[in-house]
Chain length 221, copies 2
């Protein structure tokens, strides 16, 4: 009897999770295709093939769904950032790996940065605070730790973390955001893994030339 | 008689221009306040105190109005870029002045870059092409000319204009776009002219360290 009762329960829970994932996947696909962050409940319902009432059931409202999407999409990246900080490599290598991580995240989820900033502009202060605590603070704190490590080791100049934050995140994001200019800029709208990796090296080299006291170190390591 | 007839005509023409400007100013204010590019005809009508039929009369539709807004907001900047190219200063100084121009434009019109990219994603190929021809191509061509000048003068390394374009424009724009993170990042949500100028120097110094063959030159000039 116990088995007979529990089986349908598991199935229902699985089905519920599936519809949650389906809604998140549909929103993600639409945001990527449109390269914009304006999306309606009916867009998501239509693309997922599910009733929009399920959005309310799982996420409360559209903002709740977008919040869940950001948390899903950014979680692995933020996890990698913690691992990076704990790694036994030089601060220079940490900057390189960090730039690579940011670029690869935006390559995979090109709407992520704009979605985060849209949610930070939310009229609901809880949503805005959630984004700050979930994304901006950990990112800024991790970057500051890497900069401090390099400073303590006598490898880096003292640099304003704010300048580092905006210039690195802005540069890493823009190549994916401005996708419709890519065909004009690069002659090809596809951002191949080769161009992506070349860009990672360019951004990392540029910032390391400013950071490193000995400019040769930045290239060697 | 001629005078009596022509006077009201001039008045009507002036009034027409006024309502056009009023609509553009209203859209500009809303976009700045919201830090977003989703805006409705009724939002603009309400904020301008004018009937939304006037939007159709002056601009055809919402996209037409946004296109006119971009052209109004970016025209002076693009004009300055032409002047910059013709100036008798070193390529290094041109890079510095260019970065300053871009940062100051986004400081003044923080929605401009996103609006341009939204219009480049337009379903209407004429709108998209207009943005490319009006903004991306002139900007990219001017940057390429400055890079070439430095290369010919034996001052700059050979650098991929695409890498230059995305990293510089992305860095310059992001500090204004991500305004809701500024309080966390800088402790103050106001971006003072002092911070703006410090950021201009940081971005210019960083890119010039990568560009210049002799790293000392980049700082001296």
């Amino acid at each position: 009897m116990t088995v007979a009762v529990s089986k349908p329960k598991r199935k229902t829970a699985k089905k519920r999770n599936n519809s949650k994932d389906q809604l998140l996947n549909a929103a993600s696909t639409i945001l990527t295709e449109r390269n914009a962050i304006d999306i309606s409940l009916s867009d998501i319902a239509e693309a997922s093939g599910l009733n929009s009432a399920l959005i309310k059931y799982h996420f409360g409202n559209k903002e709740g769904l977008l919040l869940a999407l950001v948390e899903r999409d950014a979680a692995s990246t933020l996890g990698l950032l913690d691992q990076l900080l704990a790694m036994d490599v030089s601060p220079i290598q940490k900057v390189r790996l960090h730039v690579a991580g940011v670029v690869k995240t935006y390559a995979k989820v090109p709407y992520l940065n704009r979605l985060i900033h849209t949610l930070m502009d939310s009229k609901d202060p809880i949503v805005a605070e959630e984004m700050v605590n979930f994304f901006v603070k950990p990112l800024l704190e991790s970057q500051t730790k890497i900069l401090d490590e390099g400073l303590q080791a006598g490898i880096f100049h003292k640099i304003d973390p704010m300048m580092f934050y905006y210039s690195v995140i802005g540069a890493c994001d823009y190549i994916f955001y401005a996708r419709h200019s890519r065909k004009i800029v690069t002659g090809n709208s596809e951002l191949t893994p080769e161009i992506r990796d070349k860009y990672i090296n360019f951004v990392a080299d540029t910032i390391l030339k400013t950071l490193c006291i000995d400019s040769n170190t930045s290239i060697k390591t």
